[in-house]
């Protein structure tokens, strides 16, 4: 008896919907084993991770706040991945966006600048993120350099550049030598949706991005172009679509969205520029994109789910002394299972008996 994968005639729609759930289920089973090995009560740990954050209003708002950058970045990445362009450097584009937007905030600090500051910060951050993403895109199109490597390497450049700025020229003179800028002025801050709460305007922008991506991919010829170039490159060329142009376009759009997410994070929940503004949003967004099946609505749900693991991880650390790194382990295992379960969309498992026995049985 033997277990084989058999190709399906058409991709299974049911499995396409169910496969992320199977992946989550398998991840939780793995985590239970891991918690048991760590000597923690698995049920209590799971409760801390997945149930506790959903039970109070503050945590619910915090989930939305954490999901905002994840969803915005993942939407951009999904466009790249659908078009077969592998942007792995969203983390760097996020940081560069944060830096570019902060520049205005730092320069207008303490002046009586008007309401134009925040919009200009947002635009500048998006532009900077797009330009930063264009470096690997142009290197790929012009020189054939692997965009996976170049975009990833640029993450570290952005990280160190930010580090230099907040330790050097932009450091808050009254900040007790901490590597951080001064708190941004109110005109340079993303407004809150609820007075005294955590939820801010960025979440609305993220929802608009999701809606725009859904329309782009589902209704427009540009979205069709993105899907065809990724799914069947030769057919796309026959259709008259230019794959290189799309690499440039999707990288620029995803860089812009990552940059925008970056400034919204800095000018919103954080309030000033400092190292460590991102707990790896740009990388976690890769998981969000795939867990959401590269579909805008799926990404929205997946973004909320992964935000839950961030909050749950913090709660588990406080309540049960489970190291925060376990959250990253969880996310890594989840991506692994998501990609593995994807094969079920095109294949099905089948038990096969050795044919010699069958031949004997019949003949």
């Amino acid at each position: 008896m033997q277990l084989v994968l058999e190709k399906r005639a058409e991709r299974s729609k049911t499995i396409a919907l169910v496969s992320p759930l199977i992946a989550i289920g398998l991840t939780i089973i793995t985590m239970v084993i891991l918690f048991a090995i760590l000597g923690k009560n698995p049920m209590l740990a799971l409760h801390a991770y997945f149930i506790a954050p959903l039970t109070d209003g503050y945590s619910l708002q915090e989930i939305a706040v954490k999901a905002t950058p994840l969803v915005m970045i993942a939407i951009g990445l999904s466009l790249c991945y659908l078009a077969n362009a592998w942007n792995i450097g969203a983390e760097g584009q996020f940081l560069i966006g944060a830096v570019a937007g902060s520049w205005i905030a730092v320069k207008t600090q303490g002046t009586d600048a008007g309401a134009w500051v925040l919009p200009v910060m947002l635009v500048l951050a998006a532009a900077a993120g797009a330009l930063y993403a264009l470096i690997p895109a142009i290197c790929k199109v012009k020189f054939g350099a692997s965009e996976i490597l170049t975009s990833l390497m640029l993450v570290y450049v952005a990280d160190l550049f930010l580090d230099y700025l907040v330790r050097g020229p932009w450091r808050d003179p009254h900040g007790f030598n901490f590597p951080t800028t001064a708190e941004f002025d109110p005109v340079a801050t993303v407004p809150l949706l609820i007075e005294g709460g955590r939820l801010h305007l960025g979440s609305i922008i993220a929802l608009l991005v999701v809606a725009a991506a859904a329309i782009l991919l589902g209704r427009t010829i540009k979205g069709f172009e993105i899907r065809v170039v990724g799914a069947a490159p030769r057919a796309a060329r026959f259709g008259g679509f230019n794959a290189n142009q799309l690499v440039i376009l999707t990288f620029a759009v995803s860089g812009a969205l990552a940059g925008l997410a970056g400034i919204i994070e800095v000018a919103g929940p954080v309030g000033h520029l400092q190292p460590g503004i991102s707990p790896g949003y740009g990388f976690t967004a890769i998981i969000v994109a795939f867990l959401g099946r590269l579909n805008p609505l799926g990404i929205l749900i997946a973004g909320l789910f992964l935000a839950l693991t961030f909050i749950g991880g913090e709660q588990a650390q406080i309540a049960m002394k489970i190291p925060l790194d376990v959250t990253k382990v969880f996310q890594g295992i989840l991506l692994f299972y998501v990609l593995a379960c994807d094969s079920l969309i095109l294949y099905r498992f089948k038990l096969v008996f050795p044919n010699r026995q069958v031949a004997r049985g019949i003949g």
Binding site: R11, R219, G239, V358, A359
Partner: protein, 523 residues
């Protein structure tokens, strides 16, 4: 069911190879349904059937590439289980595949060495290779690299490689599909000789005249079942075709008087360097195609047909706009989308992955070529209803059979997908249609529908360019036939003057003697 075993000279001893109730099941699909055949020594046994009839599955089982789900294979009377091709070869079963497995950058001898299981030294092997190729009249230079060789020569490598194992039984899968008529004749001489030496040959083909001429026995498969075993010499091509298809094939009717109008596609001295390594350079190609006319381009695969298609479609651009003129407008520098807007339509050879995106719906595949000029896009937004409407019209006009209204392209059979692709282009009422291998790997019914559609399109005034390796197909629909060889295009011959012999000479790179006798193709 007829079952005349014409060659039953060996009634006393068991057949060389026998399958008994051989069945192969893929999921719910029966690729082979209880097939029993007997193959005798000194026999050329034809295996006939349409695409998807189960020929490949059967020979793969006999060659040990797949394990049958049920049934038995007997070799010289004893049941055997083949664990793989190397065991088949060890027992004396050889196979020459339709698609060669050769490394372009290695020499002939290196390629042969890679395929042999033996332990002899490279030097001994090379010497034996030369000797075998001489003995059978299959000349080969062991030191040449494969990419320099013609398709016919590449096939010789595969045949010699099989013969070097001294097989008692040799399987040939569509060997003449890539040969000129003259090369095919040479191959038949070799096969006759192998037969005289006492070997058995299983010859897979769908060229009926060839089978009638060469084979002693024919087994005909249809839909995974054996429908008959007969002596092809006693059958007519029409009766064999009937057994293969299971019904009468619709005749393609060429309208009596097709009027040619203005030139709609003109190619002027088109030369183009190859786009990839070992590609073919197009050299000084010129022709003029008028409305109402079908020009056929014959030639052995790999002589520049793919490159010509890319240059005409605009998948590759030419620096000089004047090299390709569509509807009177210089278009050599225009993209494929711009050329479509001028009224051109294109059908590439490869259905899945080139003509369609396999995992996308038919409506999306209608959009693939229709987005430029068919009213399926308004202000950047897709008109889904218009795309679906194209699918429905193509389905109705060209009898596309499918499980639901808008399935994925990959779920259609080859013939139905090809009808959809051709239909998708014809429904746009193109002024110029460039089509490559329109009926390659398509069942006879679908092939007739497609050929008729091309004729009707030309009758309606379009200029049609058909590239095909099937000379019978070109004879049936083309007004004139030109031949591609090494990236050059011969002057077109009127179809009535294009004999098999003439075309064969051109396909082999010779020029025509002026005093050739003229009789029609297929006569």
């Amino acid at each position: 069911m007829l079952d005349q075993t014409s060659n039953d000279l060996h009634s006393g001893e068991p057949p060389l190879l026998q399958t008994i109730g051989l069945t192969k099941r893929y999921g719910d699909f029966l690729a082979n349904d209880s097939i029993s055949i007997d193959i005798q020594p000194k026999q050329i046994h034809a295996l006939l059937g349409e695409n998807g009839a189960g020929k490949s599955t059967l020979v793969k089982a006999i060659y040990g590439l797949i394990q049958p789900s049920a049934g038995e294979i007997r070799w010289q009377g004893h049941p055997i289980v083949l664990s793989g091709p190397s065991e088949a070869r060890r027992r004396g079963i050889g196979m020459v595949f339709q698609h060669f497995s050769l490394f372009d950058n290695l020499t002939v001898a290196e390629n042969v060495a890679l395929g042999l299981d033996g332990r002899e030294s490279f030097k001994d092997m090379s010497a034996r290779l030369e000797q075998v190729s001489k003995t059978y009249g299959l000349p080969l230079d062991p030191r040449r690299e494969v990419w320099q060789l013609s398709v016919g020569e590449r096939q010789r490598i595969e045949i010699v490689r099989a013969l070097m194992q001294d097989p008692k039984f040799l399987i040939l899968d569509e060997p003449t599909a890539v040969l000129t008529p003259q090369e095919a004749d040479q191959l038949f001489t070799v096969l006759e000789r192998l037969k005289a030496e006492g070997r058995a040959i299983l010859y897979i083909s769908h060229k009926l005249e060839e089978v009638k001429r060469l084979c002693d026995t024919a087994t005909i498969l249809r839909g995974g079942k054996k429908v008959a075993t007969c002596n092809p010499g006693l059958e007519t091509a029409a009766s064999l075709a009937r057994m293969m298809v299971g019904s009468e094939i619709r005749e393609v009717k060429a309208p009596a008087d097709r009027k040619t109008t203005v030139p709609r596609l003109v190619v002027n001295d088109l030369s183009l360097a190859p786009g990839e390594a070992h590609g073919v350079r197009l050299e000084h190609i010129s022709f003029e195609l008028k409305g109402g006319e079908i020009l056929g381009i014959a030639g052995v695969a790999g002589n520049g047909q793919d490159e010509l298609f890319a240059a005409l479609s605009g998948e590759r651009l030419s620096k000089d706009p004047g090299t390709v003129v569509i509807e009177g407008i210089a278009a050599g520098h225009l993209s494929i989308t711009q050329r479509r807007k001028l009224g051109a339509a294109f059908v590439p050879e490869e259905r899945l992955g080139h003509g369609t995106a396999p995992r996308m719906k038919l409506s999306e595949n209608a959009l693939l070529t229709g987005h430029a000029a068919s009213g399926m896009v308004h202000h950047g937004f897709i008109d889904t209803a218009a795309a679906l409407n194209t699918v429905d019209r193509a389905t109705e006009t060209f009898d596309v059979r499918k499980a639901k209204r808008d399935p994925e392209a990959a779920s259609l059979s080859g013939g139905n997908l090809q009808k959809f692709i051709v239909g998708r282009e014809i429904l746009r009422n193109p002024a110029v249609l460039v089509v490559s291998q329109p009926t390659w790997g398509v069942d006879a019914g679908a092939a007739a529908v497609i050929r008729q559609a091309l004729l009707d399109l030309a009758t309606a005034g379009a200029a049609v360019l058909v590239t095909s390796q099937d000379l019978d197909e070109l004879a049936e629909i083309a007004d004139r036939i030109a031949v591609m060889f090494h990236g050059r295009l011969s002057a077109p011959l009127a179809t009535s003057e294009a004999t098999r012999e003439k075309l064969g000479l051109l396909m082999g790179g010779s020029s025509l003697e002026p005093k050739e006798a003229a009789h029609a193709v297929g006569a």
